[in-house]
Every structure is written in structure tokens, then in C-alpha cells.
């Protein structure tokens, strides 16, 4: 047989089979034939490493790339031997540090085993040192956990008896407070009645035409001569269903006889009679305005319509109303649309309690009706409230401390309670864009590096993978995506330290966290070097 290509030598200079470790050389005994190691076939010995795959298990080509399932052994003298995939033999990339995989001569592979060894050896020593230090640190964490646990227990034992006393003090203060407040309420009601009567009396001095217009002016917040639904919903006392907490647009429409806009004339005939009794006590300020306008009209040459606001005022108040309308319009994007929104772009509705801003009850003013006796009752009630508040706070503080300790005592802090010292302690990792925080047993956050509010990446969920992974879930929802979440991969290190934060999938964060808490005891350093 004549080959067109140089004969590929199956054996190396020292008669070893190429790509086979010394210990396995005996599987390739010299002879006339070779039996595939899986026993499936017998082939002439010359077919060994002849760059053609004869055995299904690839055993006839340990030194070439011919078999798809084969492995090539690099001795890597001076460093760790290695078995590489056959397809990496003679592929123009140096995979083995001794260069033995590129025997075909397509590329020159320098022997780097010595450098690799030194590098690996140094790294191994370093790792071992760090593991030992970490393990020592871990011991102190365990000790610390024990101390903390005992502290907690002591604190708990101390706090519990005190709670009963605090409870009793609070109950006593509460009884006194109720008593004092009852008196105060009574006085207030008396004063209120007097005041209301005064307003009603004053109202009675106006003609029905005038007083209804005063009421109209009161409702017409932006003074544009028409009352719209938003101007009604701000007047809680008009709520036809006061038992429901909110005064809805629908309910306001009821008051407005289903009209979109109410002008003065319609108001007088249709609305006024029905709300007269409810609204009269609220008209003090509007009556003042009315009188002032009349007064001013009398002063100037050309009297203006009473109550006509200046252009500026109209513009201003219209702006305010527009803003209110926008808010309410937005509210019409109800739940369906709401789901589409990223919470980052979302408002907290509670910030917008504009509906109540003109309905706050006016405090009873010091006036001629408040006697010294009255004032004493007010002061007594105020004192009783303060004493109660203090007692209440003292009790709650003590209770929350106890429950905090109890909660902590129920937490799983891992083997030897080693994670106890990290309970709600926060660690930070800074990149140029963000500061990432990790607070075990609490949450993870991402804050812009240049300030601004943070985005929660997740709440504490628990450990996974035998305390090697922390999991945080249900963070802020991503625009067009899932709720953010984070997993924390723990590795042994001397200090608690976040090594990196990445986002392998959108809105799924991954922290690498070094901590002595997961350091195991290093194997004793052997006398000889095993590398």
C-alpha cells in the first residue's frame, strides 16, 4: 500500500502510543492486531493512530482527530496531565501546555508547562491560605452568632416582664384620655353649635337669591361661572352616600342631576334646594368674600360684578383645575392599563389627597365663646393625650423589640448559625453606573451611582443549593418584563465582599459574593507537593 501523505506514526519515539497516558499504555499491547477497547472490533495493529476511525468507541485513534468520540491525553510533564477532545488535536490551537496536541506541525506550540505549573501552584497556595484564613474567620462568625443568640435570649428574658407593666400603664392612660376627651368633645359640640347658629343667622340676613349665589361661588372653585364634577367631589359633606369612604364621580353626578356643567340659574332651581341645609354652615368664607366684593364695588367708580375674579386668578385656578382633571383622567386608565406600566413610572396615589384639601375642619378659634373653663378642659384633654401617646409608644417599642428578637430566633441562619451576623446587614458594590446593595434576610437594590432613588431587585426569599446561593425575588417589575430578581452565588473568602454583579437575563441579577461563612476547613497541607 502506498500512501500519498507522510505516514503518520502511531507510536512515539519511545514506543509509547500517542495520546495514551502511561497507565493506559498497557491497553495497547504490541501484536498483529488491536481489539477496540469496547471489544466491538478487531483491527490490524497498523490501524492504530492511522488517522482513520475504525472503532466506534474511538479507542483506535487516541492520538489523532479521526474519531468523533475520542480523547487525547497530554502528559504535560511538569504540570497536570489532561485529556482533551480528539477534535482539538491538530486544529492549529495549542491546548496542551506541552504542545503535544499539535504534533502535525500546523502551528508551533511552545512548552508552557513550567509557567503553568508555577502559576497554578501559586494560585493553589494562595487559595489554600485564603481558605484557611476564611475558615478561621468563619469560626469567629460562629462564635459571634452564639454571642448574639445569647444576647437576644437575655434581652428577651429582660423585656418580657416589663411588657405587662407597660401595658397596664397604657391602659390607665387610655382611660384618663377617654374621660378628658369626652368632656372636650362636649365643649366642642357646644361651641360648634353656637358657631353654626351664628353662620346660619348670618346667612338668614341674605336674600335667598344672594345666599344661593354665595353657595354657588363657594362651589365654583376656579370662578369660571360653572360647576363641574371635580368641584363637587371636593366637598365631602355633599356625598349622598357618606357611608362609602370615597366621594366618586358617579355620586357627584347624582348631586349634579347628571349634568356635566351647572350654571348659576340651574343651580338655584335644581341643586340649591336639595343641598341648602348641608351647605349653609360651610359658607362663612364665601359670605366674607361676598361682603368684601360688595364693599370694594362700592368703593370703585365702576362697580364690578360681585365675586368676579381677576383674569390672573382665573388663569391660575384654571391651571389648577386642569391639573386636577389630568390626574383624574389618568385615573381612568384603570387596572387593565395599569398592568402595562412599569412601576418605575408609576405614581403613588396616596400622594394625591387633593380631594380633601378644602374640607379640613377649621379649628375652633379662640373667640368670645371660649371661656377659661373651656380652655382648662381643652388643656386637660391635650395632656391626657400626650401621656397616653407616650405610654403607647413605650409599649409598642418594647413589643417590636421582642417580636424582632423572636423573628430572629426563628430564622434559618444556616449551619452553626453562621449567617446570623449578616442578618439585615448591607453590603455594597459600586460600578460606574450603579451601586448595588445586598442585605441578606432583607433585600437587594440598585441605585444610580450619581444619586437618586434605588430600584429594588428583590426581597429575601431564602437559601438554595445547601446555603451556597441566596435568592431574592419579587423586586420592582420591569418595563415589559418580569419582576426583578437576584441570585447571590457565595464563595469562600476572607472578607464579606461582593465580587461582581451581572444581569445574565434581563431583570435577573446575579451577584458573586465572597464570605468566610462558606469556607470549609482546608485539607491539611501535605508534606510533598501533589501538583
Amino acid at each position: 500500500m502506498k500512501l500519498l501523505l507522510p505516514v503518520l506514526s502511531a507510536v512515539l519515539a519511545d514506543d509509547r502510543i500517542r495520546g495514551v497516558s502511561i497507565t493506559r499504555q498497557s491497553l495497547y499491547p504490541p501484536g498483529t492486531h488491536f481489539t477496540c477497547l469496547d471489544g466491538s472490533k478487531k483491527i490490524p495493529y497498523s490501524y492504530l493512530n492511522d488517522d482513520f476511525c475504525d472503532c466506534d468507541d474511538g479507542s483506535d485513534e487516541p492520538g489523532t482527530s479521526a474519531c468523533p468520540t475520542g480523547r487525547f491525553h497530554c502528559p504535560n510533564a511538569g504540570f497536570a496531565p489532561q485529556n482533551i477532545i480528539s477534535s482539538r488535536v491538530n486544529d492549529m490551537i495549542c491546548d496542551c501546555c506541552d504542545g503535544s496536541d499539535e504534533w502535525g506541525g500546523f502551528v508551533e506550540c511552545p512548552n508552557t508547562c513550567k509557567e503553568e505549573y508555577l502559576k497554578a501552584h501559586a494560585a493553589k497556595i494562595q487559595a489554600r491560605i485564603e481558605q484557611a484564613q476564611g475558615f478561621e474567620k468563619r469560626k469567629s462568625l460562629v462564635d459571634l452568632a452564639l454571642v448574639q443568640k445569647l444576647d437576644d435570649e437575655e434581652e428577651l428574658a429582660a423585656a418580657e416582664p416589663g411588657i405587662n407593666e407597660l401595658k397596664k400603664a397604657k391602659d390607665d392612660a387610655e382611660a384618663l384620655k377617654i374621660e378628658a376627651e369626652e368632656l372636650e368633645t362636649k365643649v366642642n359640640e357646644e361651641l360648634e353649635a353656637i358657631k353654626n347658629q351664628k353662620i346660619l343667622d348670618r346667612a338668614a340676613t341674605y336674600s335667598e337669591e344672594d345666599i344661593s349665589e354665595i353657595a354657588f361661588n363657594h362651589l365654583d372653585a376656579n370662578k369660571n361661572g360653572e360647576i363641574v364634577v371635580y368641584e363637587i367631589t371636593t366637598q365631602k359633606y355633599l356625598d349622598p352616600k357618606p357611608e362609602t369612604s370615597s366621594f366618586t364621580t358617579k355620586e357627584a353626578k347624582e348631586v349634579m342631576k347628571q349634568k356635566d356643567k351647572i350654571y348659576l340659574e340651574d343651580f338655584r332651581t335644581e341643586i340649591w334646594p336639595e343641598i341648602r341645609e348641608k351647605i349653609l354652615p360651610k359658607l362663612e368664607r364665601a359670605m366674607n368674600d361676598w361682603d368684601r366684593a360688595i364693599e370694594e364695588a362700592n368703593k370703585v367708580d365702576e362697580p364690578e360684578e360681585p365675586g368676579e375674579p381677576s383674569e390672573e386668578q382665573v388663569a391660575e385656578s384654571e391651571e389648577a383645575l386642569d391639573a386636577m382633571e389630568d390626574e383624574l383622567d389618568n385615573e381612568e386608565y384603570d387596572d387593565d392599563d395599569h398592568d402595562l406600566l412599569d412601576d418605575e413610572y408609576d405614581f403613588d396615589d396616596d400622594d394625591y389627597d387633593y380631594r380633601d384639601y378644602r374640607d379640613t375642619p377649621e379649628p375652633i378659634k379662640d373667640d368670645e365663646n371660649v371661656s377659661e373653663e373651656h380652655q382648662k378642659i381643652f388643656d386637660a384633654a391635650k395632656d391626657a393625650r400626650r401621656i397616653f401617646d407616650d405610654a403607647d409608644r413605650a409599649l409598642r417599642d418594647a413589643e417590636s423589640k421582642v417580636s424582632e428578637i423572636r423573628e430572629r430566633s426563628e430564622r434559618d441562619f444556616g449551619p452553626d448559625d453562621v449567617f446570623r451576623s449578616m442578618h439585615k446587614v448591607c453590603f455594597e458594590f459600586k460600578t460606574t453606573e450603579y451601586i448595588y446593595t445586598l442585605c441578606p434576610y432583607d433585600k437587594c437594590e440598585q441605585k444610580p451611582a450619581n444619586g437618586g432613588s434605588g430600584t429594588k431587585l428583590g426581597n429575601w426569599e431564602g437559601f438554595e443549593d445547601d446555603f451556597k446561593v441566596m435568592k431574592f425575588t419579587n423586586g420592582v417589575k420591569c418595563w415589559n418584563g418580569p419582576n426583578r430578581s437576584a441570585i447571590i452565588k457565595l464563595s469562600c473568602g476572607v472578607e464579606n465582599k461582593i465580587l461582581s454583579v451581572t444581569e445574565p437575563n434581563r431583570c435577573e441579577y446575579e451577584y458573586k459574593f465572597e464570605t468566610p461563612a462558606v469556607c470549609s476547613e482546608p485539607e491539611p497541607i501535605p508534606d510533598h507537593d501533589e501538583l
Binding site: L3, D51, P68, I93, Y333, R506
Partner: protein, 887 residues
């Protein structure tokens, strides 16, 4: 603020927003001039005729009452016939993408008009050159195109020819302005559309008109919308639509058992095409032909420009593709690595991420050739720059990827961030190469970087400037291992009409955008290609584009844009890519896995199986999609996807041969069955399976949960499933298994030979020296033949003869492996033939196998598995010659 967030929320609807894109009725010229379903108007008469240009062009004057005088130029080119029509005396010049010297020089060869033989008799005027003839009726301007006296197609046979006369606006006429949604088009020149019908005689099937998601056979459009050609960035496109997409080729191929032929309507403006199939009884062109035949009617309507119609005679589809690509340019021969596997994602975050992806391919023993970086790699979407935090050391990153024989691709889009401190923006401003608003100010639109200017790629000066930006010294951190992706080149303008540019925007030489729209994307890709040539003239460029037009095939591949992770999109990739292939655009692919959404591992696996058998093989995913590199789903999925990708690498020698053939003759590697079986009528509508060359039949699984496929084997031929030696050859119809541990069903056609490489390395470039295996399938006469192509895989040296083109044939006894007549001189130093696999050989082993090469003879061993013969180690050089005798 909350309100606007709620409005933004509407983009979450998982479907294309049709309201953003025009229907015919939304486009004034389409609404006005779509007369496909009406009878023609009174015909033009030919009132004057003369031969001009040394008797190579017949100029006809066409007149009829009430319409403008038209001038028609008829000529016969080496590759087909050409009909040009415009007004006799147009008020303004009309844009012609092919007027020379033209901005684009779209016609490459075969366009020189030939000397004509004129014949005028019996009311007809004919011109003839060679076998082709254009015969025109003088009484009513109707022109038949025939080849060897057989009528193929008829222009204006229904008298739908109409050229809206360019004129000044009358004072009492309403404004010419046109609105679409909130966008105004000033339309300063008013109505200017051109339209005409072309009837294919004796035809029942039309194909082409990419890019649409409708069936492969073009549908009858009488009842619905016409096919629309207008390059657009369509967000979340849907299947079974004739809406416009990212690219357009105004090319239709007709196919019948007797003949293939085609028409090209060379117009760069928005174009609508109607299709109707007519039974023989209702045929209208039959006065030209003997007897009544089925007809396929087409109607072409463009917003502006001239009529420039090319008719290609065929008669085979291979010849049609040859004629078309002689005229418009041969497909590029891609560097081999570009035909291997590409890994893309919007976006690999940073350098460690890239390093990890690169490493993971090796950890999981999955080959890959290219890692891609989408827009986030840039410094604030400033193309040609790098994000200083995420990509601080691109040289190191690229070098690391390249150390495994791999390449990288960065995205470079044509919209330029308006920022005077950005050297590309200020440089292009200084060079004065941005498109302009009608008043002459720089046009700005909204795209990824925010406010952006758009380089005018219809301007040769702009292309020259752009090309220079790719010089290694200009594009910082670029390297010979870094190539380019041009996206958003329709162009995409987020705040423009239909997410593109206003039509009254001004380009080079004062042309309005409406006239040149379809050529914009082509110019981007071409300028980038030329840039890569500038930096390294002897390396084959690689530029992926999303937009395309006539001629794109010369500059590189395209992909089908932003598809979805759905089974329907997987399925639709076949008709979409087949339509591109028959329209002269062979290097095409669909994003594996689907761009939008998250594929289940089963869908992703099936997509890898199919993608490995489509010309451009790239996985890609949206920014919001979960990671889905082939190892993400773990076993058994990693193994299944690994097998699918490795199959591609194994068959790279076949792809080499197919791309070379495509480069030489225009035939696509991925072909409909009828391409190889022109008379097999039942194959005309098949789009669930297809062929690679004339060699392999590919029958993928495209339904969830299915573990077998019903396969149709055409032509009564035998087909052997690759690697199944115990299974007899298939023919006719059969159910074929496609289980979890199996490869995609792929069959070798009896009578064909192809080469494979069985040693799968980390990347294709590492397989350069590897031996090949010859795969042979015997036909019923125990014969087979095939071709093999070898070159250095990356340079242009093949153009200087550094290639080897082999012919392999087996006559039942002897295998002859030798140079073909068209071979070059390339010799591979290391690659040899390691094995010959003969399917259908029979269950008995041969007595002897003798090989002879270079005057020496020796015996070879073999073994039989099932009915396949495996011949061991011929060890002849793959670029050499040998014969082998089996007894």
C-alpha cells in the same frame, strides 16, 4: 407622565399595528391608479417608429386622445428584452435608477442592446436579435415577448399602461399635499405614477416579489391587497401578509411545466403589484398564441420614476436566475466562515459576557464562527465607537474570540447621532453628505441614538466617505477579524411616516426620497462592503443588511428581520427564503429562535435543525428575551441543539460548492423542489420541504410535539436518508421519524455525490486542513455524479484562479475524481479524501477496490453496513485526481 407611559404601553400588543402602515387605499396613487380589476382604457396607438442607436433600439411614439404622448424604447439584450416608457416631453426628468452615469449602476452586464432585425408588416412591428423577439401591435400598443417563436409574456396586453403626466398645478385645483396619520407629504410634483400590466402566457404559477410572509406561490390579489414593495421597519410582523417588509425585489418568476421566465420592473419607488391567474377560457393574450392557455396576469404600479421592464426568457429557472444575475450582478462568494454558525443577541453586555459565551461554545463542544454585538456595544449609539465601560478593551476581546478561529461582527447603522462632538456626525456634516429637508437644511429624525441625521447613501461621494470610515486607522479597535452588520437601513425613522423617511426629503442631485427609497438600504450595504475592501482588498467582505433591493446579492447576505419565537414564524422562514432565492438573492436567513419573545426549548431545537439547513445561519434574540444560547436549557436540549449545529459544520463542503455555483450562475443553494423537477406540477406549491442544490432534500419538523414528518419525494426518484444505512431508500410519499435523538430528516438524492467533513472543530476555519468524506447515492443505473469546490475560503485569490473545481462521477464500477473543465490551480496541501460512503450499494461486499492516482495503484478496504458501502482511507488529495475501481 403617567399618561404617556400608558400610551407607550400599547406597544405591548403582540401583533403588528397595521394602522401604522399604508394599505392601497391609504396611498393616493394606489387608490387612484390600481385599475387591475378594471378593463383597460382606450389603447395607445403607435404613431411613429424609428430605429436609433445604430439600429439597437426601436423608439416608438405612442398617442391616444386625452393622455400624454409617450415614448417607448424597445431593445433586446443578451439576457432578455427591455421596454422603457416615459412621456415624450416630460416636464421634469423622471428618476431612473439605471440612467448612466447613475448613482447606483444597478445593471452590471448583459444590458448592451443588440443590433436589431426589424420587421414591419400586417399592422405589427417586430424587432429580433438571436432567439428573442418583441412584436408590437401598431393599432393598440401591445407587445409580445417571444423566444424561439414561442410567446412567453405580453406587455400591456390589457391596456393598463398609464403614465400620470407631469404638469404644473392648476390654481383652482386642491392642494397636492397628501397626509398619512400625522405626517404630511408636500408632493411638490403632484401625481406622477407609472403603471402597466404584464401577462405570462401558459402559466399558472408566479413566484418572487420578496419580501412578504404570504405563500410561496404568489396569491391572487383581486380580492385583497396587492403585494406592496416599500422597504419598511415593521415592528412584530405577522405571517400570511402581503404588507411591505424590510426589503423588496420587483421581480416575478413564472413557472409552468414547459418553461420558466421572469419579469423585472426596475423602479426604486413604492410599488404595488397585483396578481391574477386566468383560466384558458378567459385568457386574453391568446390572439398572439395558438390556442387558449392559462395565463398569469401581473399589474405593476409605482409612485414615480419611469417604466423600465426587463423580460427574461429562461427557459429554465436556472437560466432565469443566470440571466437576472448577469444583468444585476452575481451573488457575492461569501468567506466560508460566514456560511457557518453565527451567535447574536441584543446584546452581549460587556467583554466578560462575550468571553463567557465564546468559552461556553468550547465547554459544550458546540462549534461557532461568529459572535455579534448589537447597538449596546457603542458609546451612546454612536456607531464606530465603543462603550468605554462595557467594552474598554475591544482589541483584547476580539483577539480572544479570534484565537479560536472565530470572527466578530459589530452593528453599524446609517442614522448618525446629532452631536457635534461625535467625529462621524461632524465629519459627515463637513463632507455635506446628509439627506436634506426640502428647504436645504439637514434632515433629522428619531432613531436609536435619539435625534439623528441620515447619510445619503444614494450619493457616491457619501459612499466613498463612509467606506473610508472602515479603514483600520479610522474605525478604532477594528481588526481583520471584525465585520459589519447594517440594520435599520430601510431607512428606519421612528418618528417618520410608516417609521421611515418623509417622501419629500431631498437626496443627491435633488431627487426626492420617494424616487430613491428602495435604493437607500442597498447603498448602505454597498458602501460598507466597499469600506471593508478598502481596508483589506484581498479579504472577502462580510456585511449583513436588513433592507435590500435589486443588486443586493452582490454585497452580502440579508436576513428576514424581526421575526417572532413562534412555530408559525419557523414555518414561514421557508417560503420567505425560497422567494428570495428564486429572485436572485441566495444568501438569506431567518433569525434562529425568533427575535421577539422566548422560545420553548423544543421550538429552539427545531429551529436550530432547520436553520442549519438554510443559507444564513444565525441565532438572535431581543433585548427583553431571556438568554437562549444552545447550552442554556441544559440536557437533553443542549445535546440536541449541539447535534443540529454540528450538522451544519459537517456539510460545509457542500455549502462551499453551492455558494460557488450561486456566485458563478445565480442559482440559489436553497431551492424549491420544482427548481430541480420543473415538470412535477404537484411540487409547485410545496413549501414544507425544499432542496439544497440538486443534492439534498430537507424535510423539517415544524410543529410542536411532532416526532415524524410526512415527506414527499419528488420525481419518482430514490432518496437515501443520511446516516440511515439499514433503512431502504425512499420514494413517493413516506412518514419519516424525527425523534428527540435524531437529526432533521435530510435525504441524499439518488445519483448525487457531495463532500462532507466529519471532524467538527471549534470553528470552521480550524477545519481547513481536515480530510473530506465523499457521500455517493447510486441511482437505479448505479450511477452518480457531483461537483466539489475548494479554495482558501477567505480571500479573492480564487478570482486569479486559486480554486479547485472537481467533477466526481461513478458509473457503477469506476469512480472518477478529477478536475472539471472550469477548474483553477488551487492545491490544498493537507486535505485528503478519508472515506467514501456509497448509499444503495447493496448488502454484499465488493471483491476488490483498487485506487489509482499519479500512476500508482493500491487496494482499499471496505465494509458494508445495511446497503451502504464504506471505503476506507483512499487518502488521495482532495484537490488531486484519482480513479477507483470496484469489482
Amino acid at each position: 407622565m403617567r399618561l404617556s407611559a400608558a400610551l407607550l404601553g400599547s406597544v405591548l400588543v403582540e401583533a403588528v399595528d397595521r394602522n401604522n402602515f399604508k394599505k392601497c387605499a391609504d396611498s393616493s396613487f394606489c387608490q387612484r391608479r390600481r385599475v387591475f380589476n378594471s378593463d383597460g382604457v382606450s389603447p395607445y396607438a403607435v404613431t411613429k417608429s424609428e430605429l436609433i442607436e445604430n439600429d439597437s433600439i426601436l423608439q416608438l411614439t405612442l398617442e391616444v386622445d386625452g393622455r400624454p404622448c409617450l415614448k417607448a424604447l424597445h431593445s433586446i439584450l443578451p439576457v432578455g428584452a427591455r421596454i422603457n416608457i416615459e412621456e415624450c416631453e416630460p416636464l421634469h426628468p423622471r428618476y431612473d435608477p439605471e440612467a448612466r452615469p447613475s448613482p447606483e449602476e444597478l445593471l452590471i452586464d448583459g444590458h448592451a442592446p443588440q443590433k436589431l432585425k426589424l420587421d414591419e408588416s400586417n399592422g405589427f412591428i417586430s424587432i429580433q436579435a438571436g432567439d428573442m423577439r418583441l412584436k408590437t401591435s401598431l393599432e393598440s400598443y401591445i407587445t409580445e415577448f417571444s423566444h424561439k417563436d414561442e410567446v412567453i409574456s405580453v406587455a400591456n396586453s390589457r391596456n393598463l399602461l398609464f403614465v400620470e403626466e407631469l404638469r404644473e398645478k392648476n390654481d383652482d385645483e386642491p392642494s397636492w399635499e397628501e397626509k398619512f396619520k400625522s405626517h404630511k407629504d408636500s408632493r411638490p410634483r403632484g401625481p406622477e405614477s407609472v403603471s402597466m400590466d404584464v401577462v405570462f402566457t401558459n402559466s399558472r404559477n408566479l413566484y418572487g416579489l420578496p419580501e412578504h410572509t404570504d405563500s410561496f406561490v404568489l396569491a391572487n390579489t383581486e380580492e385583497g391587497e396587492p403585494y406592496r414593495l416599500f422597504n419598511l421597519d415593521v415592528f412584530q410582523f405577522e405571517i400570511d401578509e402581503r404588507m411591505a417588509l424590510y426589503g423588496g425585489i420587483p421581480f416575478v418568476a413564472s413557472h409552468s411545466p414547459e418553461r420558466s421566465s421572469a419579469a423585472l420592473w426596475l423602479n426604486a419607488a413604492e410599488t404595488w403589484v397585483d396578481i391574477k391567474y386566468v383560466d384558458p377560457e378567459a385568457s386574453i393574450a391568446s390572439w398572439f398564441t395558438s390556442g387558449k392557455v392559462p395565463e398569469a396576469h401581473t399589474f405593476w404600479l409605482s409612485e414615480t420614476g419611469k417604466i423600465d421592464l426587463f423580460l427574461f426568457p429562461g427557459p429554465s429557472i436556472q437560466e432565469v436566475n443566470d440571466q437576472y444575475t448577469v444583468l444585476t450582478g452575481r451573488p457575492q462568494l461569501p468567506p466560508q466562515w460566514a456560511t457557518a454558525y453565527h451567535q447574536c443577541k441584543w446584546n452581549y453586555r460587556d467583554e466578560p459576557d462575550v468571553a463567557e459565551v465564546n468559552e461556553n461554545f468550547d465547554v459544550h463542544d458546540i462549534p461557532a464562527d461568529v459572535i455579534w454585538l448589537d447597538i449596546e456595544h457603542t458609546d451612546g449609539k454612536r456607531y464606530f465607537t465603543w462603550d468605554p465601560v462595557k467594552f474598554p478593551t475591544p482589541d483584547k476581546m476580539i483577539e480572544n474570540v479570534a484565537s479560536k478561529g472565530r470572527k466578530m461582527v459589530t452593528i453599524v447603522d446609517p442614522h448618525i447621532k446629532v452631536d457635534n462632538n461625535y467625529y462621524i456626525y461632524s465629519g459627515a456634516k463637513e463632507a455635506d453628505i446628509y439627506v436634506k429637508k426640502p428647504g436645504g437644511a439637514e434632515f433629522n429624525g428619531w432613531c436609536w441614538p435619539g435625534n439623528s441625521a441620515y447619510i445619503d447613501f444614494t450619493d457616491p461621494r457619501a459612499r466613498e466617505w463612509w467606506a473610508e470610515q472602515f479603514l483600520f486607522e479610522n474605525y478604532k479597535h477594528s481588526s481583520p477579524s471584525l465585520y459589519t452588520w447594517n440594520d435599520m437601513n430601510e431607512p428606519s425613522v421612528f418618528n417618520g411616516p410608516e417609521v421611515s423617511m418623509q417622501r419629500d426629503i431631498i437626496h443627491h442631485n435633488g431627487w426626492e426620497h420617494r424616487a430613491v427609497h428602495q435604493m437607500y438600504g442597498l447603498g448602505v450595504q454597498r458602501a460598507t462592503y466597499e469600506g471593508q475592501l478598502k481596508r483589506d482588498p484581498n479579504s472577502r467582505p462580510f456585511v449583513l443588511s436588513r433592507a435590500f433591493f435589486v443588486g443586493t446579492q452582490q454585497w452580502g447576505p440579508i436576513w428576514t428581520g424581526d421575526n417572532g419565537a413562534e412555530w408559525s414564524h419557523l414555518k414561514s422562514s421557508i417560503p420567505m427564503l425560497l422567494a428570495l432565492g428564486v429572485s436572485g438573492m441566495p444568501f438569506v436567513g431567518a433569525d434562529v429562535g425568533g427575535f421577539f419573545g422566548n422560545p420553548e426549548p423544543e421550538l429552539l431545537w427545531r429551529w436550530y435543525q432547520l436553520g442549519a439547513f438554510q443559507p444564513f445561519f444565525r441565532a438572535h434574540a431581543h433585548l427583553d428575551s431571556k438568554r437562549r444560547e444552545p447550552w442554556v436549557f441544559e440536557e437533553p436540549w443542549t445535546g440536541r441543539m449541539r447535534n443540529a449545529i454540528r450538522y451544519r459544520y459537517r456539510l460545509l463542503p457542500l455549502w462551499n460548492e453551492l455558494f460557488y455555483e450561486s456566485h458563478k450562475t445565480g442559482v440559489p443553494p436553497m431551492r424549491p423542489i420544482w427548481y430541480n423537477y420543473p415538470k412535477e406540477t404537484e411540487s409547485y406549491g410545496v413549501e414544507e420541504e425544499y432542496m439544497l442544490g440538486d443534492t439534498l432534500l430537507v424535510a423539517p419538523v415544524m410543529e410542536e410535539g411532532k416526532r415524524d414528518v410526512e415527506v414527499y419525494f419528488p420525481g419518482g426518484d430514490k432518496y437515501f436518508r443520511l446516516d440511515y444505512h439499514e433503512t431502504p431508500a425512499y420514494s413517493g410519499n413516506a412518514v419519516v421519524s424525527a425523534g428527540e435523538d435524531e437529526q432533521i430528516p435530510v435525504f441524499l438524492k439518488a445519483g448525487r455525490i457531495f463532500a462532507s467533513k466529519e471532524r467538527i472543530r471549534r470553528s470552521s476555519t480550524l477545519m481547513e486542513n481536515d480530510p473530506i468524506t465523499l457521500n455517493i447515492a447510486l441511482d437505479s443505473e448505479r450511477k452518480a455524479s457531483g461537483k466539489l469546490y475548494f479554495d482558501d475560503q477567505i480571500t479573492h485569490d480564487y478570482q486569479k484562479g486559486e480554486f479547485s473545481y472537481k467533477e466526481v462521477s461513478f458509473d457503477g464500477k469506476s469512480l472518477n475524481y478529477s478536475d472539471s473543465a472550469q477548474t483553477g490551480v488551487f492545491q490544498s496541501e493537507h486535505s485528503f479524501v478519508e472515506q467514501i460512503v456509497i448509499y444503495g450499494f447493496g448488502s454484499s461486499a465488493p471483491k476488490s477496490i483498487q485506487i489509482s492516482s499519479n500512476g500508482s495503484n493500491w487496494q482499499l478496504e471496505s465494509q458494508v453496513k445495511g446497503t451502504t458501502l464504506f471505503i476506507r482511507k483512499p487518502n488521495a488529495k482532495s484537490t488531486g485526481s484519482f480513479t477507483l475501481t470496484i469489482e
